[in-house]
Subunit: 248 residues, 2 copies
DNA sequence: CTTTCACTCCATCATAAGTTAAATCGCGCA
DNA sequence: TGCGCGATTTAACTTATGATGGAGTGAAAG
């Protein structure tokens, strides 16, 4: 889709992101780092709300988020959408495409988003050669699955306000882990309609829930910046326990 | 928990289940089969509604379902429960425990359920030695994640009747794939309260939705046997598309 | 045969969330 | 400065689902 290829960029930065991310959830050796740094990346920047991978595509490469956010989503017959997960710097949203060839969901860039592509063939070679790194990547996909299960609990058993609070908590922890957030604030590049699609709500009710969190004094959200004023309060209404993120 | 150890049973059957399952979603070589058959399994039978693995446990083994069903679930502060996924013969519900050490959910046997345990150490040795099998197992965990995402869509964007229909469709396809269901009928060993916990509903509303499916003439459910009278109708209200199960 | 128990089913009322539409805000742009 | 457009906010109303309590049912146990 839309993009501006940056063929001239050095491919050191992407490796650093991936290393930082993997180190946050697993033990990574010097050899693993070297192997990651030897990968060859192609960096591209996508404009807001453009598709990185389409539903039904058969990708030949994985992508690594370097800047901005991306999300996976699927559209339904009646025009509704469901956003499954958000991906932030260091994440590889479509690593599963190594094993499951046709993408059953689309991958979309929110706002301006920079990603680095790695060829499947390179990833496969790496995985064959370096078992410990393969295990770390497998582990990463398993953590992605635990986040998905947490989403199931949210949608199944939490009310709208709790769901939203939970998402705000999770994203803060994840962003802070890779050094993109601090001091209980971060850039949340989502419209309320997108929040609604992620939380299984209508956009009107997403707005109501957000107001509720503001009225409680837990957060403010203004000009795409989320500020958490009362972490403990937010954590409580969310019933948030970061254990499922498996951050070491 | 409850159980009757059967130390005398030969360990051929468990391997056969696993092989059948993996063959349904990936290419499995003769060498892979041989390696699976060389694993040593410990078979145990659990009574109805007993815990196989507790929330918070640090298991030293994986379990393979051979007969019956199991589910993963978590309880919330207010006493509500969420069931994340059901597991049927051939499935390894807790293969993730190889990489994520503390179980953040419990694993429960429904009705009488027979499982086979394999020591983590044996699984790790196998994975190190046989890369192609490791990839097949990784792939299997990724398919588990796609099922989880489908659950997210259900809870987020489908109404109660559609959610239930979707579950009925998924379980039929999965059971048929491993040869445990046929002819549009199968044993559904769940109470309506358990159905509700899986679908994010109250048990009263699960009952209403079930009545609705009966009234539409799509299914009957009597004495734990589900009969699908109108597959196309069920598939339509469910918006069910089996692609996400990645059955080859 | 009775008792018990778990499950199913049903009626009623309460409430969270969806729908629609319109008003308002904020920002980029002419 | 004022226009235009998307995003946010508010309101009025509808609907799906939750909560409670109680009545049927059937199988197992005594």
């Amino acid at each position: 889709m839309s993009d501006d290829p940056d063929p001239g960029l050095p491919s050191v930065a992407p490796a650093a992101w991936l290393i930082r991310k993997l180190k946050s959830t697993a033990q990574i050796s010097a050899r693993d780092c070297a192997d990651i740094e030897n990968l060859s990346f192609t960096v591209r920047t996508f404009g807001g709300r453009t598709s990185i991978v389409h539903e039904g595509d058969v990708p030949k490469q994985c992508c690594l988020v370097m800047d901005g956010w991306a999300y996976r989503c699927r559209s339904l017959a009646n025009g509704q959408r469901q956003i499954f997960a958000f991906y932030v710097p260091g994440d590889i949203p479509d690593i599963e495409s190594l094993h499951l060839h046709v993408m059953d969901q689309g991958l979309v860039a929110i706002a301006q988003t920079t990603v680095a592509f790695v060829a499947h063939s390179d990833m496969r070679a790496l995985i064959e050669r370096n078992t410990s790194l393969a295990m770390a990547l497998w582990r990463d996909t398993l953590i992605d699955a635990t986040r998905c299960r947490e989403r199931v609990i949210s949608l199944g058993r939490r009310q709208a306000v709790g769901r939203m609070a939970h998402l705000f908590c999770e994203m803060y922890i994840r962003l802070r882990t890779v050094g993109v957030a601090d001091d209980f604030r971060y850039v949340l590049p989502l419209t309320q309609a997108e929040l609604a699609d992620a939380l299984g709500l209508s956009s009107v009710h997403a707005n109501r829930s957000l107001q509720e969190l503001r009225k409680l004094g837990f957060v403010t959200l203004h000009r795409r910046e989320l500020i958490i004023h009362d972490w403990d309060g937010l954590e409580t209404v969310a019933e948030f326990d970061p254990a499922y993120l498996h951050i070491v």
